[in-house]
Symmetry: C2
Subunit: 227 residues, 2 copies
């Protein structure tokens, strides 16, 4: 069995590794709770420190600012999805079956058994849906890309692109399709929950089965074969 580790998180993302200490793990767990509750704009390190019964300077010793904490969580999520895909596609040869599993894990990386005690995967998933794109839609994205902060997303994307090419080696846009399936999954869930006129899906109480069906149909038609 694979072990889920965070060795893929770039050093530069944090000042002190939050996984190594109790306080660091509390920043992650309470940070997830509070960002999910308040939304990223209203979330501050001051409020987080109160929730943790700690203090602002201690948090600043771990993360330079709240943007890098969000990015850390998003990178964590990408690693978590990568782990789930690796784990669930192990020993599976059929690339179509692999893509089916990938889609399932794209849509709902929360139904799997708990990964790490201090990470609430359901709330992390909510943060990805609501705040995820803010982690890279910033003026600093190019510098952060140079620092290697997005290599998890790229690795995940490359893995999916490879499966796409296994299914159809002549498909001209494997990377675009891979990122599109991932982004579309998150986006259509957001629309279903907040702007339902922009989608045909119904999502009731976090039941994402219709989303899986949609993404499978998208993938099937794009690759001209039943996924």
């Amino acid at each position: 069995m694979l072990i889920f580790t965070e060795i893929n998180i770039s050093k530069g993302l944090y000042l002190r590794d939050p996984l190594q200490t109790e306080l660091g793990r509390k920043i992650i767990s309470c940070g997830i709770e509070l960002i999910e509750e308040l939304g990223f704009e209203k979330f501050t390190f001051g409020k987080l420190s109160k929730k943790m019964n700690s203090n602002e300077p201690s948090i600043y010793r771990y993360f330079e600012n709240k943007h890098l904490l969000l990015l850390y969580l998003v990178v964590w999520y990408w690693n978590w999805v990568m782990y789930l895909i690796d784990y669930n596609t192990k020993n599976i040869e059929d690339p179509k079956k692999k893509l089916r599993i990938i889609i399932q894990n794209f849509v709902d990386a929360t139904i799997e058994n708990p990964g790490v005690a201090f990470v609430n995967e359901k709330k992390l998933h909510s943060i990805i849906i609501m705040e995820g794109s803010k982690a890279y839609h910033t003026k600093s994205v190019d510098n952060e890309n140079k620092e290697g902060f997005f290599k998890s997303y790229k690795a995940l994307n490359q893995k999916v692109a490879d499966v796409i090419l296994e299914i159809d080696p002549s498909f001209p846009y494997p990377h675009s399709l891979a990122s599109n399936l991932f982004e579309t999954a998150n986006n259509q869930i957001f629309f279903a929950e907040h702007l339902p006129k922009l989608t045909d899906l119904k999502v009731k109480s976090k039941n994402y089965s219709e989303v899986v069906e949609l993404i499978r149909l998208f993938a099937s038609r794009m690759l001209k074969t039943e996924i």
Copy 2:
């Protein structure tokens, strides 16, 4: 010829209609310049007032906060794309041809002739690519939806969904495909410009022809007919 007006912008979005005064139009034009330059996080009304040689309280008489100014610009963009589509698909019967024109206008709503003197469409387009999704990925989205702030996006989406259904009346996800084509266009441009490993496209100096090709292939395969 159609006239591009802003009657579709909900009253609640602003405190005083910026189109009615010189100062209001300056808020829009300088706001576009400055958000594009600084990014939305670093953009403040204080900086904007200095750029305009005006003052903060005057800006606050038009917009409650910078989030609503961004949303105003995004709604403007949706209306602008809607206008372009209406204008360019006028008297065209063939729904496939209509969808082709829609895709062209999704990808690049800037190559058309200038709409309104005080709006720099190229910079507005850059803002949409970089900051657009922040206009609705907030905790206030449900309230703002109730206020009708997203009716422009819904109307645009419905128009495209109708064309999709003209092409294939049995297609099960017309609204999802419509929103997906729009979001994918913006997203793949962002990736091409900032995280190129996540796409197969090359975008050099704002030449989006490859993006149009990609979206056309996506649409063609989804609808099982050459668009």
